[in-house]
């Protein structure tokens, strides 16, 4: 059986600052893979690269045996004096990634502040329909009943939790074959955290493969098959679910490593 997603030697960042380096990652069919690591070490940047928002500097991203990144290294700085990009090919196309079914639910996205929930939900399934996948709005609404009450609100008037629900709902309407959830419970009250954590569990039970980034080890333990510890721009450890230590131990190890 071949892997769903295979990332080989991926490096990238925000020109000219490199954020992550030589990342290798495999997500098998039906798997849920977790990421855990300190803030600001490049998890979000890595995910943005997977979804094509920023171009990788080197490496390959293979999704369902389709190469998502155009081959080759980042353009050498030869073109530094030519400020005209018309012939420079992008290495990644986010539309192609989303069409392929790799759907990224961004961290703390504000979505479209001046559009109503109904309007946003109306355009979200477009990519799935274009790719011949069938969205199921009813399932999404039963997962997030609260959105049904806020259909006519502009998204800038939503609370943080509601906005996160809307983000995830949009992701689900795109009918993901692999869903990236970047800190879906960040900055929410315990009650809302639980609500969203339940939603993630429900998505998982429905069989959707997930890459889940979170700061809550217990939440991750309850969901993931593998956990990648990500710090200083690379995966420093790969743990199976059984190997996941408790929060204190893991933090101590990370903290220790940094000082050593």
């Amino acid at each position: 059986m071949t892997a769903l997603l295979e990332v080989i030697g991926l490096s990238g960042g925000y020109e000219p600052v490199q954020i992550f380096k030589d990342v290798n990652l495999t997500v098998g069919a039906g798997e849920c893979v977790g990421f855990f690591g300190p803030n600001g070490h490049g998890k979000t940047t890595l995910m943005k690269t997977l979804s094509g928002i920023i171009d990788p500097w080197a490496g390959r991203i293979v999704f369902e045996e389709q190469d998502l990144a155009a081959p080759g290294e980042r353009k050498a700085r030869r073109s530094r004096n030519l400020n005209y990009d018309i012939l420079v090919r992008r290495r990644m196309d986010p539309k192609k990634v989303a069409r392929a079914g790799l759907i990224h639910v961004a961290q703390g996205s504000t979505l479209f502040p001046d559009m109503t929930v109904a309007e946003i939900l109306s355009i979200a399934p477009g990519v799935a329909l274009a790719a011949g996948r069938k969205p199921e709005p009813d399932a999404v609404f039963s997962l997030f009943p609260r959105l049904k009450e806020r259909l006519q609100s502009k998204s800038r008037f939503l609370s943080g939790g509601e906005r996160q629900m809307l983000s995830m709902a949009c992701g689900l309407l795109a009918v993901p074959k692999l869903m990236i959830l970047d800190e879906p419970t960040l900055g929410l009250s315990p009650k809302l955290r639980q609500e969203l954590a339940d939603a993630v569990h429900a998505i998982r039970r429905a069989g959707t493969p997930i890459i889940l980034i979170d700061q809550d080890i217990e939440f991750l333990r309850g969901l993931v098959d593998h956990l990648n510890v990500f710090d200083h721009g690379s995966i420093s450890r790969r743990l199976t679910n059984a190997q996941i230590p408790d929060h204190e131990t893991l933090m101590a190890e990370l903290f220790g490593r940094r000082q050593g």
Partner: protein, 295 residues
Amino acid sequence: MELSAFIAVLTGGLVLGVLYSLMAFGLALVWTTLGIFNFAHGAFIVLGAYIAWQIGNPDAFGLGFLVSAVVTVIAMFVIGVIFQFLLVKPFERKPNIVLLTVITTLAGATVLINLINVMWGPRSKQIVLPASGDLSLGLFRITANEGLMVLIVTLTLATLGWFLLKTPLGRSMRAVAQNREAAQLMGLNVPLLYAATFGLAAALAGLAGVFIGSIRFMTPNMGDDPLQKALVVVILGGVARFTSPIYAAFLVGIIEAFSTYAVGLYWTPAVLFVLMIAVLVVKPEGLFGRRERSV
């Protein structure tokens, strides 16, 4: 000021407002969506006027007003798309895109104006509108041609509003304008939507040109004044919602009409610019704008 004079000035202001909303709408659309200021907007207006003259006028192809307006709108859409592809898109990933595109759109405008000079010459022309006579409603009195313009512009903007609010493509265009990254993650075709937005803005500029070319005598350099007016309107109104430039356009039209009556044509631009500077000082996001989104 007598009531009849007041009404006449107000009517003039409202008619100007209609024209200005058409001129400013496209500029604001590009500004919010692509995050750049298109200095070629004035040149688009001029080019639209000349294309319409060429197609419609009895001295040229003579196909009549309606055909000329339709051809102009389509041609300007295509020209806008090409313009964006050559002069805006290549700088999309540069951090200093705003400054770069100030230069490239100014350069593009210069090229367009000179092309117009070469093709049609500097002598002034005028577009002949089909209607004649006056329309009146109580004390409000406008020429039939002004009425035609009000009708066409209102229909155009209403259609555009419907398009942006109700159709998937229009909603996608608003989505890209409000959050490019989220739109990309949704799998929207951002390059296509950028091109369509720029084309649409150019098409609206072209339509504005058709009317300006009928109100005034056309010369290749007539684009500066509309560009200035559109700039004032966009800054005054802000760009948070696509309706803000429309309100601001009417405000500017009415202020211009009354200021022309009170202090004369000569001082009116000064009045408008003082107003614009005052707004920039006090409420930089525009009278109808919100603080979050300012480019």
